[in-house]
Amino acid sequence: MNSLWAVLRELAGLFIDDGSLVLQIVVVILCASISSILLPDIPLAAGGILLFGCLGALFVNVKTTARR
C-alpha cells in the first residue's frame, strides 16, 4: 500500500510542484473554457485568455517565489 502511494505521489509530482501555480493554471483554463462557451463567435478570446493568462500566472509566480 505504501509503495502504491509512493508511486502515485511520484506520478502526481510530474505535474504538480508548486500548488499555487497549478491552481492559477486551472483557473486560467476554466476562464478560457467559459469564454469558449459564452463567446463561440470569438474563438480567439479563449486562446488569448489561455496564452496571456498562463504567461501572467508564470511571471507572478516566479516573482512571488523570488521575494519569499
Binding site: L14, L21, S33, S36, P43, L44, L51, L55, V62, A66
Partner: protein, 250 residues
C-alpha cells in the same frame, strides 16, 4: 511542406531535448548502482525498467486512438501545460539563483552514499536493492519521456518521429555514459530544461486551445509564436529576479 516542418521540427526537438535531460538523470543513478554493486544489478534493473516502459506504451498506445480527438487534445494540453510550466518555473528560478542548480555530480555522490549505507545494513539483499534503485530511476525518468513523446505527438501522427528523437537522445546518453563511466555533469541541464519548458508550455497552450475549439491564426505556426512569448517572459523574469551570485543562462 513548410507547415509540416513547423510542427514536426518542434515535436522532434522537444522529444529529443526532454529525453536527453531525463536520460542524464537516469544514467546518474544507474552509474551509482554500477559503482557500488557492479553492472549486473544496475543493468538488470535498467533492463527491467525499460521492459515496463515498453509494456506501458504497448498498452496505452492503442487505447489513446479510441479517445475522441478534441478530448485527447484538451486532456494532453492541460497535462502539458502543468508539466511544461513546472519545468519552466524551476528553470527560471534556477537561472536566477533563487534555487540551486541541479548537480549531477552531487546526485551521484548522494545516491552512492545511500547505496553504501544500505550495503552496510542489508548486505545479503543488496543486489536486489541496487537493482531496484536502477529500475526505479529508469521507470520514473522514462515515464516522463513516454509522456512527453505521447503528448507532443498526439493526434498528429508524429509518434514515430517523436519516438525516434527520444530514442536517439537515450542512446546518445547511454553511449556517452558507457564510454566515460561518469555522471554527465557538464550537460547544461538547466538550459535544456528551460528550452524544453518553453516548448512544452507552447504545445500545452496550442493543444488546450484546440481542445476548446480555438482556431489559432497561422495554424501550427501559432506554436512557434507561443514559444517565443514564453521564452521572452521567461528571460524577462530571470533578469528581473536574478540574485547577484546567479550563473548567467548560456
Amino acid at each position: 511542406m513548410i507547415g509540416s516542418w513547423v510542427h514536426t521540427a518542434p515535436t522532434i526537438t522537444a522529444a529529443f531535448l526532454a529525453s536527453l535531460v531525463e536520460a542524464v538523470e537516469a544514467l546518474t543513478i544507474v552509474l551509482a548502482v554500477a559503482t557500488v554493486r557492479g553492472w549486473r544489478p544496475a543493468g538488470l534493473g535498467a533492463l527491467a525498467g525499460l521492459l515496463v516502459l515498453v509494456l506501458i506504451v504497448t498498452i496505452l498506445g492503442p487505447l489513446l486512438d479510441r479517445v475522441p480527438l478534441h478530448l485527447l487534445q484538451l486532456a494532453i494540453g492541460v497535462l502539458l501545460l502543468l508539466f511544461g510550466m513546472r519545468w519552466l518555473r524551476k528553470a527560471i528560478l534556477r537561472s536566477a539563483g533563487v534555487i540551486p542548480l541541479h548537480d549531477e555530480a552531487k546526485a551521484y555522490a548522494t545516491e552512492t552514499a545511500e547505496l553504501r549505507e544500505q550495503a552496510r545494513r542489508h548486505e545479503a539483499r543488496l543486489d536486489w536493492l541496487a537493482g531496484l534503485a536502477s529500475f526505479k530511476a529508469v521507470v520514473l525518468e522514462g515515464l516522463e519521456v513516454v509522456f512527453i513523446v505521447i503528448a507532443v505527438s498526439a493526434g498528429r501522427g508524429l509518434l514515430i518521429p517523436a519516438g525516434a528523437g527520444a530514442i536517439t537522445a537515450c542512446l546518445l546518453v547511454a553511449g556517452v555514459g558507457l564510454v566515460v563511466h561518469r555522471p554527465l555533469a557538464r550537460v547544461p541541464e538547466n538550459t535544456l530544461k528551460f528550452a524544453v519548458g518553453v516548448m512544452l508550455s507552447a504545445f500545452g497552450i496550442f493543444w488546450t486551445g484546440e481542445g476548446l475549439g480555438v482556431a489559432w491564426p497561422g495554424g501550427d505556426l501559432a506554436i512557434v509564436a507561443c514559444a517565443a512569448l514564453f521564452l521572452g517572459v521567461g528571460l524577462a523574469a530571470v533578469t528581473l529576479i536574478r540574485r547577484p551570485n546567479a550563473e548567467a543562462l548560456p
